[in-house]
Symmetry: C2
Subunit: 478 residues, 2 copies
């Protein structure tokens, strides 16, 4: 490359420079993402989760970063990569996670950890667990570093990268990491690269995220499966007990019926309302795309996600279809996730939910109840809570909030939508250090990526655009 060409490219800006570089290296970028997606990445899969961390560490080391694998007992390592320039400059930290949601392989068209390209043109996508959530952002950062290095461009700030290995398991050790590794994780601001762009494909920033906690409820029927003819309408059917309990907790229009559940919900600020109002309506498009004949409740999506949610992740009791038999089953289970908004806390939600379940006539246990316990109470519910965390929100007018929006506007030519709170959960609250450190979400992946479900994918065009976004931020943050 001639010096003249290089100078022209730099003048055209880091995003354009990254695009040129990407166009010439698409195959290598997809190959690097595929290699990473091919490593199974359940947080509980101790062997493979280490392989993911090692692969990411190696990739950043190769780009000249100084990399550490931080460790706390019983957790996957936290990968920290630093590219330091001058001490006088601020340090900004880009976060993503390398673990993925559990898979039900039977529902995947191709195996979850055997990445495969499908589709053509602007709809070409790479399929595989975590192809979007969050391995695409990680590889986009690597490609942006490559593009800048190829052009001889230096980052404008000290860059730090932090990759977590158990975000999809509820980030149970992230607080320990942050407490234990204060200097390694010190930063002037976080950029969280989890989550999708707007459903219209417009770029989008988020400044908060809903909190989350999850609950597995098991309710009990007879000690052994019973013939539904000989015992039906006498022996308690656990499925019916469970459906009535669920329905007592929320209505079909998303309203949570648990006493005091909305007491801790803070209203949006005028600036937040304004940012929401600036996002064009798109619910009708989305209803068409998702084949919906209705939505729950009356709020448009962007307002709905600023409310708490009680979602049924799953329900299981007895058998349906070919395997259904005329029996009353011994138990029924439901898995629920709660989404929390400021200033709800998982602790308070647990209190309220348990009070509700007890009020609804269930004796609450933590382990499999013994026969004496089951006989002694009309209804017994075993509750198992997952790890959880509260929501968080950085003000829209914080300096980092304004700066990131400005860099993206310049790089892409359009102002990104600004979502006060992402509907999904990222452990933003841990990064804010009690509100002292600004945290901005910079998602790059497509919304229709099936994240958390079968056939997760990343649209390659989103990967390409993401490389430009990161190149612009690496060069444009001050």
């Amino acid at each position: 490359m001639t010096h003249l060409l290089l100078a022209l490219l730099m003048a055209a800006g880091p995003a354009q420079l990254a695009r040129q570089w990407r166009v010439a290296h698409e195959k290598e970028i997809v190959a690097e993402l595929s290699a990473l997606v091919a490593i199974p990445n359940l947080a509980s899969d101790k062997v493979n989760i280490e392989r993911n961390a090692a692969a990411i560490a190696e990739a950043f080391t190769r780009r000249g970063a100084s990399v550490k694998l931080l460790r706390v007992e019983g957790a996957p390592p936290l990968v920290v990569a630093a590219m330091d320039g001058s001490r006088a400059r601020p340090t900004f930290t880009f976060y993503a996670h390398y673990d993925g949601q559990p898979v039900d392989a039977s529902q995947w068209i191709s195996p979850p950890w055997e990445p495969v390209l499908r589709g053509t043109g602007s709809e070409a996508r790479l399929y595989g667990r975590s192809s979007s959530d969050d391995k695409a952002p990680i590889v986009a950062m690597l490609a942006a570093l490559d593009a800048l290095r190829a052009a001889g461009a230096q980052p404008s700030v000290n860059l730090k990268f932090v990759f977590e290995g158990e975000e999809e398991a509820g980030s149970p050790h992230l607080a320990s990491y942050i407490a234990q590794y204060k200097s390694e994780l010190a930063t002037d601001g976080w950029l969280l690269c989890d989550g999708p762009v707007h459903q219209s494909r417009h770029s989008q920033l988020y400044f908060g995220a809903r909190g989350v906690t999850d609950l597995e409820i098991t309710v009990y029927g007879p000690a052994r499966p019973l013939h539904s003819g000989h015992y039906g309408n006498w022996a308690p059917n656990p499925i019916v007990a469970l459906t009535h309990l669920i329905d007592s907790m929320r209505d079909a229009d998303a309203r949570i019926l648990i006493d005091q559940f909305y007491d801790d919900v803070s209203p949006l600020t005028p600036a937040e309302r304004e940012a929401l109002a600036a996002i064009p309506p798109f619910d009708d498009d989305l209803k068409r795309e998702l084949v919906l004949g209705r939505t729950e409740g009356k709020l448009p999506l962007n307002e709905a996600i600023h409310q708490p949610a009680l979602n049924l992740r799953g329900i299981l009791g007895g058998h349906v279809g070919e395997k259904a038999s005329n029996a009353i089953s011994t138990e029924a289970r439901a898995s629920i996730d709660f989404r929390l908004v400021p200033v709800q806390t998982p602790e308070r939600v647990r209190q309220l939910v348990e009070a509700h379940i007890a009020k609804h006539g269930f004796f609450i246990v933590r382990d499999e109840p013994d026969p004496a316990t089951r006989r002694a109470h009309p209804a017994v519910a075993r509750l198992v809570w997952g790890a959880g965390y509260p929501s968080a929100r950085t003000p829209l007018d914080a300096p980092l909030s304004r700066q990131v929006a400005a860099v993206l506007t310049e790089a892409t030519g359009v102002a990104p939508y600004r979502l006060p709170t992402l509907g999904g959960s990222v452990p933003m609250h841990l990064f804010t250090d009690g509100g002292r450190t600004p945290v901005v979400g910079v998602p790059i992946v497509n919304h229709d990526n099936n994240q958390h479900a079968a056939n997760e994918n990343v649209r390659l065009q989103n990967l390409w655009d993401g490389i430009e976004v990161f190149a612009a931020l690496f060069s444009g943050l001050r």
Copy 2:
């Protein structure tokens, strides 16, 4: 055996004779039952269901019966075995079925079609699908015939045996068989040998059976699984739609909430109430045995089963436990069986249920709905009804009803309990020929046999007692 001993045994009665014979041949009897249980017997498993029919035909042929395999298109054969004596005598027909309920092999301690003995003494049991329901009665009949033949005793009536191969699939072709083979199936009365004895282990007769019909409901969420954070409390969760629909159909105390559902329920006659009252209370024992802290509703079991029931056979949506992910699933399914009492009909029940579901806001479809249908309606329910049939009841004071009770009282020394209607379903209505032919249920197997569920078993003592019951009936009916 000396002539004197034989004469003594006959004087002691056919039940005692059968006992002597059984004690000397337990191994062979269990071996014959095991061989029969070892043949997989789903009605839909065309190859194996024929093997069951052939094995039973061979066993009755070997005992000197003239055997026919009756056939109607698309159904397993109806095995009919006749042991004719004099034309002047009446003919009584013993019915059982040789097919079994579907299995979920993962829930069985030992494979469902690999029979195995477990337990000792009076609690020794043979485990395997249909060990109780209904292969034990079939083998008990064979052993009773052997015992009588060994003693040179002739049946007191013309005996006929009819074995059905798709009772657990709802007997969809039994009506065709009965219409098509009038002379082969002509009889003066039916003895149905399906179902269990009383929970106290006391012998029991039944004179009616609840009817049955089943329904699979599928409701729909988004076209693809959605992230529960980004879409939770906006995109309709199909599990929640389903739980609300179920709860609108019945309360947690077994009361069915569907309009007019109880309009066709006939009250019991005074004689039926009296027979019920003669059965000692046992609900508390049963609650203890089944580890129940409550029952549904306030009726004791024997009264409850004289009411209709709506039982949830299964429910499934999304995932629970380790496989649960933070997603909104695309559909949720429930499988329901209805138990009907005189004079409810499946047709009327279907009408009422569908009117209820429609009133509850669901657009009803029969096949997988296309996207246009799903977009056009706030809620869509796919309904798939199984085959069904109504209940039936023979009067307690019919001659055959009195005769069977008297033979059992003499053979066992105690009067059997008389249940006007069995809680379970047998297609009794088809046998009654519009009320002209008496039908009495003569169950032999243990109540705690896990029939229709995993680890089905027959208690050997029940098998032994059953042999005596059949020997007494074969020799004592007039």
